[in-house]
Symmetry: C2
Subunit: 195 residues, 2 copies
DNA sequence: GAGGTTTAATAACGATCATTATGAAAAGGA
DNA sequence: TCCTTTTCATAATGATCGTTATTAAACCTC
């Protein structure tokens, strides 16, 4: 019983995701959010909770729908292909939409006042999880003989993530897809070869 | 004639630099700035102009006093040494001060509301200038036979900058100096060798 | 159709934002 | 000592921030 919700929750989340992607967690105001979603403030609160809760919902959605290239990459047969696919996926993601370049998850790690601290921690944890998955995948590759005995899975994971993050920063700074592709190619050229 | 200024302009700039480094451009409020500098708001305005002008002064100071490893790196004899010194300098800079990790210049490139746009543009330009210097240095290295004919100076500069930016993000996320050193080592591992 | 329940929209809340008007205090030149 | 000039501190500006009362409208069940 009761009145039906008049707006589409999924579409509102999509619109909020775009706002956060473009302006970051703190840079996005409720004025922006209501304008983008077409939903008044109290409705957003009753549907999603406060700003932090809304951002966390958006973040889950972001990983599910936009960073899906990472779990896909992890299932490729060789470590090199994993890295190559992750790099290509990051290039596509960070340059596909001209109105919100870069990576939503990274815009919030940096900067921010004190009240953004819990959000920053959440982003750091999400990032750490991705790094752990890469490290485990590279350890498996080493065990399978796909990487040489001298390879350091932890260093490779950290390095790959550093390049991914760096490309996200560069995409936000307006770098073209071609330049990012050259960066990815250079990063892969350092990849340890099979024994 | 007239009353003398009671606070030290240089020390106030140093304190403001720390605040911006820790919180970013938008995350830093005048409450933070007056607390850190010990200078009341109107004195900050009369001495430095508004927030944007203050940040620009701080940014110049940052490059002069903290990113001095980059011009130093450019004068080393080989391209590989340039890259190695830049990477090591970035590691030191982004992890030296526990209270403000990462890179001041990068905290502001990402995220931010509309009114931070001019500051973001200034940071992007500063970053582009650093990239141009690296590219020219690598072109020289190629001409001097220090880099092979197949090397692409623009790609190398973009790649090096991507790693530097990625490490800055990781430092802000709490990465240790050791992990960053492993990232730098991996980045250098197959630097194009002299023909 | 009436009662109870959920959502919608308007408008306000206190807090904080960057910025500045105001007037007192301090200094040098006459 | 008076006058001019510059800096100082207090406090207020209008705007915007995230968050809610409050009231009106829409719906299901009985």
């Amino acid at each position: 019983m009761g009145r039906h919700r008049e707006f589409d929750v999924e579409k509102a989340l999509d619109a909020a995701l775009c706002v956060f992607w473009r302006k970051g967690y703190e840079g996005a105001s409720y004025a922006d959010l209501t304008k983008a979603t077409g939903v008044e403030r109290p409705a957003l609160y009753s549907a999603f909770g406060n700003k932090e809760a809304l951002f966390r919902k958006v973040l889950v959605r972001y990983y599910e729908r936009y960073v899906d290239y990472l779990p896909a990459a992890l299932q490729l047969p060789t470590a090199r292909e994993v890295a190559a696919h992750a790099l290509q996926g990051a290039i596509d993601l960070t340059t596909r939409y001209p109105e919100h370049t870069g990576c939503l998850a990274i815009q919030g790690v940096l900067a921010g006042s004190d009240e953004a601290e819990p959000v920053r921690q959440a982003l750091i944890e999400a990032r750490a999880e991705g790094e752990a998955q890469l490290r485990e995948r590279f350890e498996r590759a080493k065990a399978e003989g796909d990487l040489p005995e001298t390879a350091r899975p932890d260093a490779l994971a950290a390095f790959l993530l550093a390049v991914l993050h760096g490309m996200a920063v560069q995409a936000k700074a307006g770098f073209s897809r071609d330049v990012l592709a050259a960066v990815a190619e250079q990063a892969l050229s350092t990849w340890p070869a099979k024994a």
